[in-house]
Amino acid sequence: MPETKELNSPADASAERWERETLEPVLRKRPERKKRFETVSLDEVNRLYTPADAAGVDFERDTAYPGEFPYTRGIHPTGYRGKLWTMRQFAGFGTPEETNARFKYLLEHGQTGLSVAYDLPTLMGYDADSPLSEGEVGKCGVAVSSLADMEVLFDGIPLEEVTVSQTINAPASVLLAMYLVVAEKQGADFRKISGTLQNDILKEYIAQKEWIYPIRPAMKLVIDTFEFCTRHVPKYNPISVSGYHIREAGSTALQELAFTLRDGIEYVQWGVDAGLDVDEFVPRISFFFNAHNDFFEEIAKYRAARRIWARVMRERFNARSERTLQLRFHTQTAGVSLTVQQPLNNIVRVAIQALAGVLGGTQSLHTDAYDEALALPTDRAALIALRTQQIIAEETGVPNTIDPLGGSYFVESLTKKMEDGAYEYFDKIDSLGGMVEAIEKGFPQRDIQESAYQYQKAVERGDQTIVGVNKYSMEGEQTEIPTLVIAEGVRDRQVERLGLAKARRDNGAVSNALEKLKKSARDGDNTMPATIEAVRAYATLGEICDALRDVYGLYEEPAF
């Protein structure tokens, strides 16, 4: 997109002179390697960026200073000089005992926060003994069916001190309740607990597709957690609005940025409509972005994200508090970019992607392990991933200064292009009636699918290179790296613990609590107090979700 600029400005004249006198003679002798150079999002990149390209970017208005509006250069006036990002490796597999041991291993090796991966039955609100859970228990994450599992998962980990991020969405309010009850049993004060619940249901309908209920009641559950946490767990982030999964589903960087921030706007709007004060609950909304292969495009994406959020919160929602305007985010390197072929190459990819996240000013970071295109990571692979972050933090010098790419003609111009592109998407989604309506119409889903297919075709044409896959591949190569094997007996052990928990509990208290929960859901009351009561009585995840399924029904994906 051409920048608006004055014609025949001195900058243009000097660029023209360079092209005529210096560039063209060289191009005549030796053409460039490709006709078109493009990002991993298939967006064209120019040969050179000059002051003319960044002419639409005003330093005071658009770039400015870290810790000041519009926060393009970061939300902290000291950048990483004050505090490094949190190194938060996502982990979870098998039984709660196994994951608890992995957590302790990571904490012993210098990791500074925890992040729980739950298995698919847990993500979908089924217990380990459900027929639908067959073959899936403990495979993609840790299996949690009741408070009894959660107690084991966090055994010996003080929840008042360690911040824990939980990747859970459709049944997020239930897992939050379990977490809080475990903290309570440890004697922790709710007001001191910090951490993050992913709880971003919109991106489930858009991209990751682990949903349970229809969209509107699911949004109501999210707002219930906002309201509850604002009152009782004020340092806790009840949501992490996630572009990560949108990108993994095949979106471009711009689509990731635009859909994620528009999802964020949707949550804020629903919160405001429920009577919450913007400056009270929005400061606890956090974000989660992907770090993909295209280095500068990613950095521009993070810079644009902060600027857009600050402007939208001020202009659209009249936010007054600084904290409301400041977008905080977690980053994870792109799982989708990892290759089965020559898997050690993934260590290099992850390092470069992580560096983009750091140059973009992320608050926390997960680096993928090199073996994740094959299986969940081994201890050794997970350790190298953590060491990658430590090398960036303590050897490269990158965190010594704030936003070192600020002022780059290319990065500033790309940041602006991202911002403008996102506003165009916002207009389109607003014209459809908002994000919920856009999802119901299949708009973001179709838009992402199209990009995913175009990217696949570009790879197959060889326009996009994947080293070791469509270039520099090795015939007959054996990928001989050890992989983590999840024991097939996990389900039996989990079903056994579930049976014991059910035998020990007071079934009358469980049915009363579940009836209360249904009533609060039917009446449109906040469901959190009743959910906590049910969890305390050791009602299982499946039982609690079934109660809500009875009231809300199930989501059916429209065909498109």
């Binding site: 899936e136 495979k139 597709k209 290759t339 089965v340 896959v469």
Partner: protein, 134 residues
């Protein structure tokens, strides 16, 4: 006489919702002139076998990333055979550890395609192998 188009059921068993791969394969096979039926998410092996029979497909392409392949894939093969679909190929794509591939093949899976596979390779495989059916 017009040749019958190859018919493929693209199936997504288990609880996992990551359907990027399944949708890309479905579209690539369609673009290659095949008739493709996509089951949608969270199909049980029973639902997949029933759909394969009803649609009279030549092949079932199973997309699976969750680690449940050792349970779900052999079950799909077994149910297809029980329904008399002895010639129906079962191919699998997704995150499958190398050491599981020989066992899946012994249990009747014709091919396993790992991340990085070109859609063209899958088209070629189907053309070569469906063509050989009696």
């Amino acid at each position: 006489m017009s040749e019958r188009k190859i018919r493929v059921l693209v199936a997504k068993p288990g609880l996992d919702g990551h359907d990027r791969g399944a949708k890309i394969i479905a579209r690539a096979l369609r673009d290659a002139g095949m008739e493709v039926i996509y089951t949608g998410l969270r199909q049980t092996p029973e639902m997949i076998a029933a759909a394969a029979l009803q649609e009279d497909v030549d092949a079932v392409g199973v997309s699976i990333l969750s680690g449940a392949h050792n349970t779900l894939c052999p079950r799909i093969v077994e149910l297809l055979r029980e329904r008399g679909m002895d010639d129906c190929l079962v191919i699998v794509g997704g995150i499958i550890p190398q050491e599981d591939i020989p066992r899946l093949k012994e249990q009747g899976v014709s091919a396993v395609f790992l991340p990085g596979t070109s859609t063209g390779d899958i088209v070629t495989f189907l053309r070569d192998n469906v063509g050989q059916r009696a």
